[in-house]
Amino acid sequence: MLTLLPQFTIRIADLAAAFLFMYGLKRMSSPVTAPSGIFVAGIGMAVAILATFLYIFNVSDAAKPFLAVNVVLAVVALLLGGAIAWWSGKRVAMTAMPQMVALYNGMGGGAAGAIAAIELFGQHTQGLATAVVTLLGALIGAVSLSGSLIAWAKLDGVLDKPLRFRGQQAFNALVLLMVILVGGYIVFAIQTATAPIIATRHLISLFFGLALIFGILMTLPIGGADMPVVISIYNAFTGMAVGLEGFVLQNPALMIAGMVVGAAGTLLTLLMAKAMNRSVANILFTNFGAIQTEQQGEMKGSLKPVDAADAGIFMRYASSLIIVPGYGLAVAQGQQKLYEFVKLLQAAGVSVRFAVHPVAGRMPGQMDVLLAEAGVPYDMIFQLEDINDDFATTDVTLVIGANDVVNPAARTEKTSPIFGMPILNADKARKVYVVKRGQGAGYAGIQNALFYGDNCDMVYGDAQAVLIKMIEAVRGLGLAAAA
């Protein structure tokens, strides 16, 4: 009877956690309710973790001699892992958020894989379904761990080139096949108990080794521009692995939370792929840069460089302005200066809005976060579908550090690798200024007809330096705009 109450409490706590997670995520449907949403989910997590310690009253007989050490280890691991991650999460720069999320994803995948390893090494798995699900969770978790680490390295600039070799896909497929074969044999060995335990242990190690290698191989050939999709895939993978291990441990909270995240990650992956007009398979198995274009026809028109101050003053006298921010702005750390400039214009009566492309930045919605960090109110930020028709009726469009997402080739050039990708119709504005570091092409490595248009002037230079000049120029007018 003594064990009944702890069991019951744990079940209630898990139920509460599952509910609070769902409710917390639901509150993310608006920026107004979102902060309370994550707080609610946090309470769910705290309750579930604390309740788990009640398992102390319920451990198996085999674990009883180890219990004291286990509890100490658990508390130390919990505090150590939590504190390090909390500290790093509070300090990380917003531009580095994608690699941080990739890292946390990998940790989750690693934890799911480790749980599977304990079940396998400890011979806890019983029954065919449980063995298969354990191994499947182990595979997905391990792939998510090593793959996320490679994604982190790429986003952080440690690895800067996609690594490809001839026959790579066949090789990767072969490794995956080996993982499945080894996994299949482990299930067979567990079921029939034919193989000696030591031999099975080696096989389990081999299984994890191959799964980790597969994660690395799968991620290495994918280019930097596709990383948002990759992060989101691994988010979904880790979710699924957690869900599957939840089944193994008979814990419905893990099953539900894992599957919810699995679905969320899958949905985000599809949305990202759609914003780039590519299939997920295309992203995973080919590469943007690799689809090389036969050189397109000569660009008509010419690039027309203008002075930053002149551009700034022109915008001051416009009545409406749409700003298209890109990752180049974030790299130059220019968001603060940009918002300062915007406030000057607003004080002078210019209507200013921001147009954000779904793939601006290195992960879905990153540009929105970077603007929010600079203090830009969210009601000034518009997404592609909400603002695209307004470019035609806008006086000026200011493109800063964005390239491919405003390339009209996506509408017109059938041979272009970005053909069909939804773009911001910046070229339709009466006047366009493009702030750009140099004349080089963007991520996709293609020319941009927008820059050569009659209505477009180029302002060359680092985004932050250019914006400082624009601010000075507008301030220099000494009008009511002395905000």
Binding site: L25, A41, M97, A112, F121, A129, L254, G258, A264
Partner: protein, 109 residues
């Protein structure tokens, strides 16, 4: 153990399918502007794996299991705490226009 809930076969499938559907519907309503916090937030949610890690570690009965269990909890705790910290930070940044309200949200310059 009569009080132990056993989830097998079709019951497990029901849970998986309904949870996936609920996730799909809930997440589909999140606006694009919140997609980064959503991703780190869902990242935090799968940090619940730490609960599984704790269960496995508390039931460990060999040094090998203890070692792996320690890392399971360490990684899971990092996943949960890190995911929460970054999501909370990002969401706190989203503010409405100060002009329309009484101006209390406006940051001093």
């Amino acid at each position: 153990m009569p009080h132990q809930i056993v989830i097998t076969g079709f019951v497990a499938l029901y849970i998986f399918v309904l949870a996936a559907f609920a996730g799909w519907v809930i997440i589909g309503r999140v606006p694009a502007i919140l997609h980064t916090p959503l991703m780190s937030g869902s990242n935090f949610v799968h940090g619940i794996v730490v609960v599984g890690g704790l269960y496995a570690l508390l039931n460990a009965s060999s040094v090998l299991e203890q070692t792996i269990g320690f890392f399971a909890v360490l990684l899971g705790a990092g996943n949960a705490a890190g995911g929460y910290a970054v999501t909370d930070r990002m969401l706190a940044m989203f503010q409405p226009s100060a002009e329309k309200s009484d101006g209390t949200l406006r940051k001093s310059e």
